[in-house]
C-alpha cells in the first residue's frame, strides 16, 4: 500500500509566550490523513492552527509532540520537501525580478536540471495563465497575478503534493475561479492538493475532503458531501407546479409518513451569479470583436 500524502499523528505544537515562557497551544493532538490525488481542505477560523499545521508539514516548525510524514518521510527532513510545493498566504516575492526570472530562480533552488528548466518554467507559467506577463517585473503585478506566479513557483519542480495557504484571499471572483480551475487541473494530473481557506463556498465545490479545526483541535473531518448532507431529509426541486398540485404533494408526503420541514426557493450563490454574468458578457464581447474583425 502506498503511503498517504500527509500523515499526521498526535501532532501538538506549543509556543512560549512572553518573558516567563507561558505555553500557548496552537495545535492540540491532531490526527489527519490526506490520501494521494485528493483535494483536501483545512478549514477553521483565524488562529485555529491551520497555518501552524502547514508550517509543521513543511518542516518550518518542529512539533512539540507527535509526528508528521509526507509520503512516508518525516516532514522535518529536507528530502521530504522535494515532493512538496508551497504557496504562502498573501505571497510577496522579489520585486526586481521578472515573473519568469522568479520562477526560474525557484526552479534552480529546487534542483531542476538545466536541460529541463526552460521547458518546466514555460509549462507552469502557461498553466497559471501568466505567459503574457512573464517578462514584466513582479513589482508591477496585481494581487491575483502574484497568486498565480506564486502557484507557478510552487509547481515548477513538479511536486506530488501542493500546499496552498489561503490561495484566493484578496483575489476577485474571476481570479478565484481561475485558481480553482488550476487546482482541479492539478488533481487531473494526479497531484495531491492541501489547501487552507476560510472562503467556504469555494472550498465546498472544490475539495474531496475537509477537516475543520477549532482552537487547535480537529472538530470534524470527512467527505464534503457526507458532512453537509442532511442524511434524514431529501429535497425535491419542482418547476411549474400549481397551487392545487402543491397541496396534493404536501398531502402525499403526510400520507407516506413524512414531514414537510420547509419549502424554499432554490438560489444561486452570489459567486455563481457573478461568474455567470461576467462570463456571458465576456463571451458576447469576444464574439462581437471576432465578427468585427471578420467584417474588416
Amino acid at each position: 500500500m502506498s503511503p498517504s500524502a500527509i500523515s499526521i499523528k498526535g501532532l501538538t505544537k506549543d509556543f512560549s509566550v512572553g518573558m516567563r515562557g507561558v505555553k500557548l497551544r496552537a495545535v492540540d493532538d491532531l490526527d489527519l490523513e490526506v490520501g494521494d490525488n485528493e483535494i483536501f481542505g483545512l478549514l477553521g477560523p483565524n488562529g485555529c492552527g491551520k497555518s501552524t499545521t502547514i508550517k509543521v508539514i513543511l518542516g518550518l516548525l518542529d512539533a512539540s509532540a507527535g509526528e508528521c510524514k509526507i509520503y512516508g518521510k518525516p516532514s522535518h527532513a529536507v528530502a521530504a520537501r522535494h515532493s512538496v510545493g508551497f504557496l504562502p498566504e498573501a505571497p510577496y516575492f522579489y520585486r526586481y525580478l521578472s515573473g519568469r526570472e522568479l520562477v526560474r530562480f525557484y526552479a534552480r533552488i529546487c534542483g531542476v536540471s538545466r536541460a529541463r528548466i526552460a521547458a518546466q518554467v514555460d509549462e507552469v507559467i502557461e498553466l497559471v495563465g501568466m505567459t503574457e506577463a512573464a517578462y514584466r517585473r513582479v513589482g508591477t503585478y496585481s494581487k491575483g497575478m502574484l497568486q498565480r506566479i506564486g502557484l507557478a513557483q510552487a509547481l515548477v519542480h513538479d511536486p506530488q503534493l501542493v500546499i496552498l495557504d489561503e490561495p484566493t484571499a484578496g483575489v476577485d471572483p474571476l481570479g478565484s475561479a481561475a485558481i480553482a480551475e488550476i487546482i482541479r487541473e492539478l488533481k487531473r494530473r494526479g497531484k495531491t492538493v492541501l489547501l487552507s481557506s476560510h472562503l467556504l463556498a469555494q472550498i465546498e465545490g472544490l475539495c474531496d475532503r475537509v477537516a475543520i479545526l477549532h482552537r487547535g483541535k480537529l472538530v470534524r473531518e470527512g467527505r464534503v458531501d457526507d458532512l453537509v448532507q442532511e442524511k434524514d431529509a431529501q429535497s425535491l426541486v419542482v418547476q411549474g407546479l400549481s397551487a392545487a398540485g402543491r397541496v396534493a404533494v404536501e398531502q402525499a408526503i403526510i400520507e407516506q409518513g413524512g414531514t414537510l420541514c420547509r419549502v424554499e426557493q432554490p438560489r444561486l450563490s452570489l459567486d455563481s451569479l457573478f461568474l455567470q454574468e461576467v462570463e456571458r458578457r465576456e463571451t458576447a464581447r469576444s464574439t462581437s470583436t471576432e465578427s468585427k474583425g471578420g467584417a474588416q
Binding site: K55, P88, F105, G111, I163
Partner: protein, 280 residues
Amino acid sequence: MSEVIRSISRIRLIAGNTFLEAVRQKFFNSLLLISVALVGSSTFFQQFDFGTGELKFVTDFGFGALFFFGSILSIAATTQLFFSEIENRTALTILAKPIYKLEFLAGKFLGAHMLMLVFTTVIMLVLGGILYWRESVLMARMGEAFVDGRLIRYSDLLVFGLLQWMKFGILSAIALFIASFSNTNLYTVVVSFFMLIICQLQYIARDAYSTMEQGIGQWLVRVLGLIFPNFQLFNVGDQLVFSQGAPLPAITVLQIVGYGLVYTVAFILLAQLNFKKREI
C-alpha cells in the same frame, strides 16, 4: 558528493540573489559614493594634518574611511538583507523548498560579503590611485626623498584590503548571529555596533590579563578575549603599505586570514543554532 555540489549551487543562488538585492539599495550606493568622494578628496584635508607626511595622511584618511563606512555598511546591509526576507516572508517561500537553513544563512552572508568585496575593492582602488598620483607629484618635486624608489607598496595595499574584507566578514557574521535571535532590525544594528566596539578595543583586555595575577579574574578575561575576535590584528596597514618597514610575512597574512575565517564560520554556525528554533 553530488549533494555537496547541489548544496553549493543553492548557496550560490541565494548569495547571487542577495547581492542583486543589495546593490539595488540606495543606502549602499550612497555610502559608496560618500566614501569614494571622501577618499578621493583626502589630499585636500591636509590642513587638519598635525605634522605627519602627506602620503601618511592620505593613507590614514583612506584606511579610516574604509573602516568607518565599511563597518556601517557590513552591519546595516547584513541586517537589512536578513530582515527583508523575514518581514516580507520571502524566507517562508524559500525555506519551504528542499533547502537547509544553514544554506539559507550562508547564502545571505555571502551575498552581503560580496557587497563588501565590491565596496572594499572600489575604496582601495580609489585610495591607490590618489596615493600614486600624489606620490608621483612628490617624486617630481623632491626626488631626493625617493632615492630608494616609491614609498608605497601598492600590491600590499590590496593585501590590506583583503584583510579588511575579512574583518567585515566577521562583522557581517556577528550581525547575522544577532539577527538570528533578534526581533527587530534596530536591536540587531545597535548590538552589532556594541560588538564592533568591544572587538575593536578588546586588545585592552588582552593587555590587562597579561599583567593580572593568576586566578578567576585572569581566566575570565582570557575567555572573553577568545569569545570576541580581536580586530586590532587586522590593523597592519602601516606595516604592509609603507616600504620603510619590513614587509609583513606572507605566513602572518595567512594566519590573520585564518583567524578571520574561524570566527566567521563560528558566528554563522551559532546563527544557525538560533535560526533553527526561530518561527518564520
